[in-house]
């Protein structure tokens, strides 16, 4: 699955590292790093990634709001939402706005890769 363009949205640099390591090892390209929702929305326009990993709890703008705005720009945007314990109410709301892919923290790099692969394959399969 080479050449997939990925944007990582997370306020934790360490999480960026975890995801990036796995992504690069699988031949993905990380086209953008955003540390909050506000940056994510802006970077989405300019970089147009294939897949976004989206944290939920972030300062300035949270992941749910950012996802709404991105989906408003492009209803087909592929967002993998990363939730932690305690986020279950937000997950419910996220499902309501049409997000279908979720990943629970803590995850391993390979989990993320598998999830992204599934998201991409899901599309070609349709």
């Amino acid at each position: 699955m080479k050449g997939v363009k990925l944007m990582i949205v997370d306020d934790s640099p360490a999480i960026h590292v975890i995801i990036e390591r796995a992504a690069i090892a699988n031949g993905y390209e990380v086209c953008a790093h955003a540390k909050n929702g506000d940056e994510a929305v802006k970077l989405y326009e300019s970089t147009r990634p294939d897949v976004i990993t989206m944290d939920i709890t972030m300062p300035v703008k949270d992941g749910l709001t950012a996802s709404k705005e991105i989906l408003a720009q492009n209803p087909c945007a592929k967002i993998l939402m990363l939730s932690a314990m305690g986020d279950e109410e937000i997950v419910k709301e996220a499902k309501d706005i049409g997000i279908t892919h979720f990943m629970k923290k803590p995850f391993k790099g390979e989990d993320i890769v598998n999830a992204i692969n599934n998201m991409i394959l899901g599309e070609t399969g349709e």
């Binding site: 314990m85 305690g86 279950e88 629970k104 989990d111």
Partner: protein, 122 residues
């Protein structure tokens, strides 16, 4: 509560009373529960069927909670785990990272906290 009905929780404890305690509360919220009296039986169940959550005691005959979690993880089962034990038991067995459970709760379990925690995990 209906949305919980498809979720299966495995409760492991060598005391039937403690199993019933947890089962009774968790079922009230619509989850399905199954029980096992030690780690070995629990592992068999976990390998045979799919569960969404594991709740386990530490001190048990045959296979204790620590060994159970280690085995679960070694078999690539990545469900969340709640360990229910006394502070001392937890400390003596889980202060390391290898089998790191998702969460620890102190015996006797507070029913409200148990449910809140389960909701967080599922």
């Amino acid at each position: 509560m209906k949305q919980n009905s498809g979720k299966r929780v495995l409760i492991v404890d060598d005391s039937e009373m403690v199993r019933n305690f947890h089962s009774y509360i968790i079922r009230m919220f619509g989850y399905q529960t199954e029980t096992a009296e030690n780690g070995a039986i629990a592992l068999e169940k976990l390998l045979a069927e799919e569960y969404q959550l594991l709740i386990t005691d530490i001190n048990m005959p045959k296979m204790d909670g620590y060994e159970l979690i280690r085995n679960v993880r070694e078999n690539g089962i990545s469900i969340p785990v709640i360990v229910v034990s006394t502070e001392e038991e937890y400390r003596s067995r889980f202060s390391g990272v290898e089998a790191g459970p998702s969460l620890h709760m102190v015996k006797p379990t507070d029913p409200e906290k148990l449910i809140t925690t389960i909701k967080m995990l599922l």
